[in-house]
């Protein structure tokens, strides 16, 4: 770029790349272009090429190549979202799929086109690095970061620091297995910190700085485990050193002999919390701490590359929102279910549901992406967040503008009032797309969504999280679902196993298997009976999860299997 142009404004909510970052990405694209050319010419075999394409987010799935694009800590700017829409329109089938890891997947990508797609992404400071392989994956974050009223520390600056530390970290490119980190700055865990390899919760330190709660060894997959609390006082300046020590211990002792025992959760269980902590402390004591020290100046320098929104709402913004809610009960319901309190007076965070009744959870068309990008520009400082629940968020919306935002969303089929309710289902791609799947996840989600379409009914049922995975890898978080649904294969046919009582939050728990797996055509009815049983037995304003925890599985078992 000629240096006569004015520096572009920094993006709101995420780190603004500099020329070094851009040059690196440009190189990386050309490197992959060369690798693709060699693969097509046959000088690279599939076995040689596969790890290279995976390092660039390109999987071969059931029907075609799938490209997984990183959305670091779930924050996009409008320019990036428009580029994703453009790619969907030009190179895919006019839609994209937002995932539980806050990324975006395209399902119909051609190998030949991938270098061009990566080049387009690089133009808007995006890539597909850290979306595959046994490295530290794209760090996930609270979708209300920097906005939520209950937040103590905005975790995105630290998420960016972790991104820079972990990207292409030479020691951590070939870990025993993939490694996932989530970070939050709120005591209310919205990132499933306890289900990650490492979960961090930022909070103020007694000295006025920042410190972290550290959870380790959580995970889903074949062996679901709630992470253990390693410490509650990790000082900011030791953040990288301590994480370096944690990952080094894993790299050294984690099992490489058995893929099913390779995650850090297995190591932590094997050593015990104390045993693991001792090894980490020993590593930490022995390492060159100065090299990994994170001084306040560095944090400040990274923070300076984040654009910050200039929050100024008119004094009567809240009053205007109240009036609009009173005038329109449908809007009022949506505000009740799909917004989150903002720290700044006159502002609110709006959740855009990607779960229309009967739709595919997490899918958005190019036109919808463009519309959300436009709304973000007009009403939310050009910033969009992707949630691990597969929805989108406009973080900073003026309360007096919320009605206009909602009307625009409604016109695009994006105003389902179901956040946190039974229609807000997580579903992995399942057998409709995924090469590893046993069963289809999406059709179950669609049927449940249609069955419980009524917003009144959903509000009556109240908070409930249904999560569906098409196989034991648990990409759909079924272990953490209040109701979890797992697809299993019985002689080539689809069956579904139900688990109850999982929770991803601060009260994390792993769901327990209810009984024998059900055939596909019996699963939705069984869940409807479960929900009925809950409605009969709930006390007061209890959530489904509370009723289950209070009364246990027996009555739900009866409800499911009595007539099945």
């Amino acid at each position: 770029m000629p240096d006569t142009l004015p520096a572009p404004a920094l993006p709101i909510g995420h780190y603004g790349y500099d020329q070094v970052d851009r040059a690196f990405l440009a190189d990386r694209v050309e490197q992959f272009r060369d690798q693709v050319a060699r693969r097509i010419a046959g000088t690279l075999s599939e076995d040689e090429f596969k790890p290279l394409r995976l390092m660039n987010g390109l999987y071969l799935q059931l029907h075609a190549y799938m490209l997984r694009i990183a959305v670091p800590y779930g924050v996009l700017d409008s320019r990036q979202l428009r580029e994703l829409a453009h790619i969907a329109r030009t190179y895919d089938r006019d839609y994209g799929h937002f995932t539980t890891r806050q990324n975006l997947q395209f399902n119909w990508i051609r190998l030949e086109d991938t270098p061009d797609i990566l080049a387009r992404l690089a133009d808007v400071d995006m890539h597909a690095i850290q979306t595959s392989g046994n490295c530290i994956r794209n760090v996930t974050c609270d979708q209300f970061a920097g906005a939520a009223q209950d937040e103590l520390v905005d975790p995105r600056v630290h998420a960016e620091i972790l991104r820079q530390w972990s990207t292409l970290h030479p020691e951590f490119t070939f870990l025993p297995r993939k490694f996932k980190i989530a970070i939050s700055g709120s005591p209310n865990d919205r990132v499933a910190a306890r289900f990650h390899d490492i979960g961090l919760v930022a909070k103020p330190a007694p000295d006025g700085g920042t410190q972290f709660d550290v959870f380790v060894g959580g995970g889903m997959g074949r062996t679901p485990i709630v992470g253990v609390h390693l410490r509650d006082d990790l000082p900011e300046e030791d953040l990288l050193a301590y994480l370096e020590a944690m990952v080094r211990v894993y790299n050294e002792y984690g099992r490489r002999d058995n893929i099913y025992k390779a995650r850090i959760k297995i190591l932590v269980q094997a050593l015990g919390t104390e045993g693991y902590r001792q090894k980490v402390d020993a590593e930490f004591a022995a390492m060159n701490r100065a090299r990994y020290r994170l001084p306040p100046e560095t944090v400040a320098a990274i923070r300076a590359r984040f654009g910050t929104p200039d929050l100024h709402a008119p004094d009567d913004a809240a009053a205007q929102l109240d009036r609009a809610r009173r005038a329109d009960p449908v809007f009022d319901r949506w505000v009740r279910t799909n917004t989150h309190p903002h720290r700044a007076p006159g502002y609110i965070s709006a959740v855009i549901s990607l779960k229309p009744a009967g739709g595919i959870p997490g899918d958005a068309t190019s036109a919808q992406m463009d519309l959300v990008a436009d709304l973000a520009d007009r009403h939310a400082f050009g910033e969009i967040r992707v949630t691990h629940m597969q929805n989108l968020v406009l973080g900073h919306v003026r309360q007096d503008e919320l009605h206009v935002v909602w009307q625009a969303l409604r016109g695009a089929g994006l105003a389902s009032a179901n956040i946190g309710l039974i229609g807000d289902i997580i579903a992995c791609p399942g057998l409709d797309y995924c090469a590893l799947a046993n069963a289809r996840s999406i059709p179950i989600a669609q049927k449940l969504g249609a069955r419980f379409a009524s917003p009144e009914l959903q509000e009556t049922i109240g908070p409930i999280e249904i999560k569906i995975s098409g196989c034991i890898n648990a990409c759909g978080h079924h272990h953490a679902g209040h109701i979890g649904i797992l697809g299993v294969d019985k002689k080539g046919e689809e069956y579904f196993q139900l688990t109850l009582g999982g929770s991803p939050g601060s009260d994390a728990s792993v769901g327990q298997i209810l009984g024998p797996a059900l055939p596909e055509d019996a699963t939705v009815d069984a869940i409807a009976r479960l929900v009925d049983a809950y409605l009969v037995h709930r006390a007061g304003g209890e959530r489904f999860l509370d009723t289950y925890r209070r009364l246990g599985a027996a009555l739900f078992k009866d409800a499911v299997y009595a007539t099945a």
């Binding site: 046959g42 797309y433 669609q446 294969d489």
Partner: protein, 112 residues
Amino acid sequence: MSDVRNNRREAGGSSVITANRLLDGRIVWQVGEAAWSTLIDDARIIPNTQIEAAIAQATARQQEDGLVGVYGVQIESDDATPTPVTVRERIRAFGPTVHPDFTPAAELEAHA
């Protein structure tokens, strides 16, 4: 992509051979030596007694033919046109069930 589940074959049955195209990843079915179609209806049906040899042959030519992940898929014995016995392979053959408009047949028409 090949899958261990596809190696379970009944001795008396028949199979077809499938792969993904290298350039675009799309699913194809073997019609004849070096000839492949996106439609399973066109596929050559091979008795399971001969399938391993046929897979080995197709695998040996895969780079030349622009393919990856060649494997065999058992089909129902009583159908006039090939229908895979597993749900997984039916979805590969007929497209994602959640997008009825994305069947390989519909695609061919769209491009015709």
